[in-house]
């Protein structure tokens, strides 16, 4: 049985950051990933906007992941891919992790465990969707998998329920691919996604957002044929008489994410019912000594940058724990009621130092990307005026107004390839293009067929439509024979 100081479960942004951080802090580290490639959900998040806080750049998901995957491999940290953790036992001095993979069962020992297991989407059944059960009901993430990884259209005309970010992103993505998004329906009186996504994903494409409305019923025996929508009262109960049938071929749900903590629960970790993530101390250690939590399994984050940060913190602390370093005894509960914000690290054991507290809030925020200060702008619209606060310099205000009114946009999409294992490859424009050119550029992108190995950043269409922007690959295909070896080539 191989022994490690730290085992990280999950190879998404949180797990990668945790493993890198644990390794850099001297821990012998193993990362275990269920899928065949590292990067987690970022692999299918081909839109941009990742890394603004961390890198001061607007990266696509695959590009953001790539930076960490590259570092991870450069550090020669041990990893197991396509390997599933089937059991974890806590015992004297550590944990025994049992894995299953195509090589059989494996057992690994460690002193500290970092859980970076991500989150899953709330299902149609969890929001009480009734009626028939045809094909054509998808969560937004599943639809995203079909479009961005498999190059398949799950819909040509759909209704989206829920204004979560993935739903908004998919509204734009599907529109770019030629589908009609009839509308986004949100049962709450305010949207749940980021304002920048409401703006860039819905308003840009004239997709209506219906607040205080929900989908009450699904029609269709084999394939979905329509949905019924209705207005809801303040308790989110449908109002009789407001029902309306919309003909469409799919219902896409973006109704919330749930931290995946089944592994944590099996270990006896206490789960906070508000965040559905583990209760942790300031080092992101759960109430089971030696078990750390980070990323979206700790709590669902709006921005991947925070996911990375929590991964680094957990990895660092896990490395320290594995060396048996003392931890503070004093404990202080800073849980706050009242706000919709839920404190993630309510146990402040080491009372002396400054600590960052991570919150989940219901405020609409925007990150200024003008400079690396990355001011967190709060934007509100009152009587048609845009009111900006949180900007540390006037450029922030300009940025916010430009963001709300600006005609320049960055677009991400995919191009077809001849590789069976990677039917589509993520691409983006190298710099913003005028908003009115989006569909013309999409048409150019759709003509591309990649039939040779491509590096990330490689220009696929120089000066698309005579603009300054190039269409560049946002991910890569490196081998003719085994394009799936994409992430592993540097090992």
């Amino acid at each position: 049985m191989k022994e490690y100081d730290v085992i990280v479960i999950g190879g998404g942004p949180a797990g990668l950051a945790a493993a890198i951080s644990a390794h850099k802090n001297g821990a012998r580290t193993l990362l275990i990933e269920r899928e065949e490639r590292l990067g987690g959900i970022l692999k299918q998040c081909i839109h941009d906007g990742f890394g603004i806080i961390r890198f001061g750049e607007r990266l696509t998901g695959p590009e953001y992941a790539k930076r960490f995957v590259r570092e991870f491999h450069a550090l020669k940290i041990d990893s197991l891919i396509q390997t599933f953790v089937t059991d974890i036992r806590k015992d004297e001095g550590g944990f025994t992790v049992t894995t299953v993979s195509s090589r059989g069962l494996g057992k690994y020992r460690c002193r500290a465990l970092v859980l970076a297991t991500g989150c899953r989407e709330r299902t149609p059944r969890q929001v009480s969707i009734h009626g028939t059960r045809p094909a054509g009901v998808f969560t937004a993430g599943t639809a995203q998998h079909f479009v961005n990884l498999l190059g398949q259209m799950p819909t040509k005309k759909c209704v989206i329920l829920g204004s979560g970010d993935i739903g908004l992103i998919m509204a734009r993505r599907l529109t770019l691919e030629g589908a009609e998004v009839v509308g986004v329906y949100e049962a709450r009186p305010e949207p749940s996604g980021l304002m920048r996504n409401i703006m860039q994903c819905l308003e840009d494409y004239d997709i209506p957002l219906h607040l205080s409305h929900t989908v009450t019923r699904v029609f269709g025996r084999d394939r979905l044929e329509g949905v019924e929508v209705a207005a809801v009262d303040e308790n989110m109960q449908p109002l009789a008489g407001t029902e309306e049938r919309i003909d469409c071929d799919a219902l896409i749900l973006s109704v919330g994410l749930i931290p995946e903590n089944e592994v944590a629960e099996k270990l006896g970790v206490t789960i906070d019912p508000r965040t559905r993530g583990p209760l942790c101390d300031e080092n992101l250690m759960t109430d089971v000594a030696g078990v750390f939590s980070c990323g979206n399994s700790l709590h669902v984050s709006d921005l991947v940058d925070y996911v990375t940060e929590s991964g680094e913190l957990a990895g660092h602390a896990a490395a320290a724990y594995s060396r048996g370093e003392e931890r503070g005894e004093e404990s202080k509960d800073v849980r706050k009621e009242g706000h919709k914000a839920a404190a993630q690290q309510p146990e402040l054991k080491a009372a002396a130092d400054e600590h960052d507290l991570y919150f989940r809030t219901d405020k609409k925020k925007m990150i200024c990307i003008t400079c690396p200060n990355s001011c967190l702008l709060t934007v509100a619209e009152e009587g048609g005026n845009i009111i900006v606060s949180g900007n540390r310099c006037p450029r922030g205000r300009d940025f916010a107004i430009a963001e709300l009114t600006h005609p320049m946009r960055t677009i991400s999409s995919t191009v077809r390839t001849t590789y069976k294992a990677v039917p589509v490859l993520p691409v983006r424009v190298s710099q913003p293009i005028p908003k009115e050119k989006i569909f013309a550029v999409m048409a150019e992108i759709n003509k591309v067929l990649v039939d040779h190995p491509v590096r990330a950043g490689e220009i696929l269409i120089p000066h698309v439509l005579g603009l300054d922007a190039d269409v560049i690959a946002a991910s890569e295909i490196l081998k003719d024979t085994d394009p799936e070896g994409e992430w592993e080539h540097e090992q």
Partner: protein, 587 residues
């Protein structure tokens, strides 16, 4: 009472309730109601009030619903000639638990058996949409076929499930009472079960012992009637296993195949008609004998065969499945009971710990005109939970991961119909098989098979069916790796590395298991087909993560492009084509 007098009596009864809108005619043990009514509920009420407890008498409903078009059975669009001119000893119509157990029972004889089902899989309708309880046989009408078969069927399950490699638990059932005053009646009932029905293990369990067995039951329960022989099984798993075993023994199972019409021949010298051909969307089948196991459509099939002497009035029932995290709350089957007469035609539903370690809550019972109305309603779930929270107060709707509705094929007599055709010679009806039809199926199948063999022998006395000495009752199920010991699992993965690639994280299903499902004797290369066999998508994420992966495995294994992989039936495509093809318009 002769027919005339019965007819007058029923018509008096109908006039009191519905004036002249409906009338009854009685002839040849057939009570036919005709007329027109405003609502389906009224039609069911009219028919129900004409039910008489006389052997072989059945109500046939010819009352039309004002302003409503007749309901049509959904049939596949697909047309081919695969079965054109196919001769068979026996044609079974319906691939539910009845059809599949009968097919398997018939394979003990050297017979050419064809089973058809209009759906893309076995067990799509009632057999795939029930709670999976193997009933101990309480609460059934004396002298009914239900009662005749339930105990015999129940006792067959250990061997049946062992042979078919299907999980089965005799988990026991508690009917819980909150009032002491119910005790004398329940006591008498328990005595009756012991001394009249010969079921000697039913007993009454009191407060503390009850809670020791099931600590989460309502603390106010005073006692429960305990039936240790009650059990649970995966109903579609068992149906598919029976179908596969029948197929492995030589039966032909043809899915996506609907019986559309029958060709009947009248003997020249009088006597009973017979079926000479069954037209399907895949060609004309020419069987010597037809077995009608068509569930909610049994009366439609009877009509095709010119032998409609009963009517099905569909009754919906909705069940919810709870997350496995709630599984430990209950180890058996339990439900709150009272001594009030149960008029709801369900044993009232309950909470059941499934063989897959989920909890199942339900079902309810709602009359419906539509035989294929599988739509779920929030009201059903709310009502069931309101009731079952009395059984177990910690029960929470928050744990629901999915719910589904089935439609019971009830006759107005609320009993099975298992008999030869009345007007049609070469026909056996196995109809009205509602609860406890899953429990009774293996026993009913034995009798139906015996009847079929006798009828075939009668048709050709010189060539009677002979026993099939090669019949193998055993089926090897698909290995369930997550349930194995580590050593066993490791060894199997080393033999086949696909068993080590986990595709469904919630249920821990490997690619190897999915491939096994796709290569099983009855091939159903759909997402739902795979899901029913090896469970990817049955867990808490409901396929959110694994749907694209499973669809891709199906595509690769069958050579069908991804955009043609179906969720279930032929129109249930998942993808509508590839990206990049669609036209874009300007903003």
């Amino acid at each position: 009472m002769n027919d005339k007098r019965l007819e007058e009596k029923l018509n008096r009864r109908l006039r009191r309730a519905f004036a002249m809108a409906v009338s009854a005619s009685v002839e040849d043990r057939l009570i036919r109601l005709s007329g027109e009514l405003e609502s389906w509920e009224d039609i069911v009420r009219a028919c129900s009030m004409c039910v008489v407890k006389r052997a072989g008498f059945h109500v046939v409903n010819d009352i039309s619903l004002r302003g409503a078009k007749p309901q049509k059975m959904s049939v596949p669009n697909h047309r081919d000639t695969e079965l054109e001119g196919r001769r068979a000893d026996v044609l079974i119509i319906g691939g539910g638990i009845s059809g599949c157990t009968i097919a398997r029972a018939l394979m003990r004889w050297q017979l050419d058996v064809v089973l058809i089902d209009k759906e893309a899989d076995l067990a799509v309708q009632a057999s795939g949409r029930n709670d999976g309880e193997v009933h101990p046989g309480v609460d059934l009408g004396r002298g009914s076929l239900k009662q005749k078969y339930v105990v015999r069927g129940n006792r067959m399950f250990d061997q049946l499930c062992e042979e078919l490699d299907v999980p089965f638990e005799r988990c026991g059932q508690y009917a819980c009472f909150g009032e002491w005053r119910a005790l004398p009646l329940v006591w008498l009932y328990a005595l009756q079960r012991r001394f009249v029905c010969g079921i000697d293990d039913t007993r009454i369990v009191f407060g503390r012992r009850l809670r020791k067995k099931e600590p989460k039951l309502n603390a106010d329960f005073k006692f429960a009637l305990y039936n240790p022989q009650a059990g649970c099984v995966c109903p579609y798993g068992l149906t598919i296993a029976c179908g596969e075993n029948a197929a492995a023994n030589g039966a032909q199972i043809s899915l996506n195949t609907a019986a559309l019409e029958m060709e009947l021949a009248q003997p020249a010298g009088g006597g009973r008609q017979s079926i000479t051909g069954v037209r399907t969307n895949r060609g004309m089948i020419r069987p010597r004998l037809v077995i009608n196991a068509a569930g909610v459509f049994a009366d439609d099939v009877a009509q095709m065969a010119g032998d409609r002497f009963y009517s099905i009035h569909p009754r919906r029932g909705t069940n919810s499945i709870l997350d496995k995290k709630a599984g430990p709350l209950m180890r058996s089957i339990a439900s709150v009971k009272s001594v009030k007469k149960n008029t709801a035609h369900t044993k009232g539903g309950g909470i059941l710990h499934t063989v897959h370690d989920n909890l199942l809550v339900g079902p309810d019972a709602v009359e419906t005109r539509e035989k294929e109305n599988f739509a779920t309603e929030k009201a059903s779930i709310d009502a069931v939970f309101a009731k079952q929270r009395v059984t177990m107060p910690v029960l929470s709707e928050k744990d629901i991961i999915t719910y589904f509705t089935g439609v019971r094929p009830a006759t107005f007599e609320e009993d099975f119909i298992i008999e030869k055709g009345r007007r049609t010679e070469n026909l056996i009806h196995c109809a009205g098989i509602q609860s406890p039809g899953l429990t009774t199926a293996p026993a009913v199948a034995e009798d139906v098979a015996a009847l079929a063999v006798a009828m075939l022998k009668e048709q050709e006395p010189k060539k009677p069916p002979v026993k099939n000495t090669c019949f193998d009752p055993r089926r090897r199920g698909i290995p369930r790796l997550a349930a194995m010991s580590e050593a066993e699992r490791d060894a199997l993965i080393r033999e086949n590395p696909d068993y080590g690639i986990i595709v469904c994280r919630c249920e821990e299903v490997s690619k190897g298991e999915i491939l096994d499902a796709l290569r099983a004797p009855v091939r159903v290369p759909t997402v739902d087909g795979v899901k029913k066999r090896v469970r990817p998508g049955m867990g808490r994420c409901q396929g959110g993560f694994c749907l694209p992966l499973v669809a891709r495995i199906i595509s690769e294994e069958t050579g069908v492009p991804l955009e043609e992989v179906k969720k279930a039936g032929e129109r249930a495509v998942i993808s509508l084509g590839r990206t990049k093809g669609a036209k874009n318009e300007g903003i």
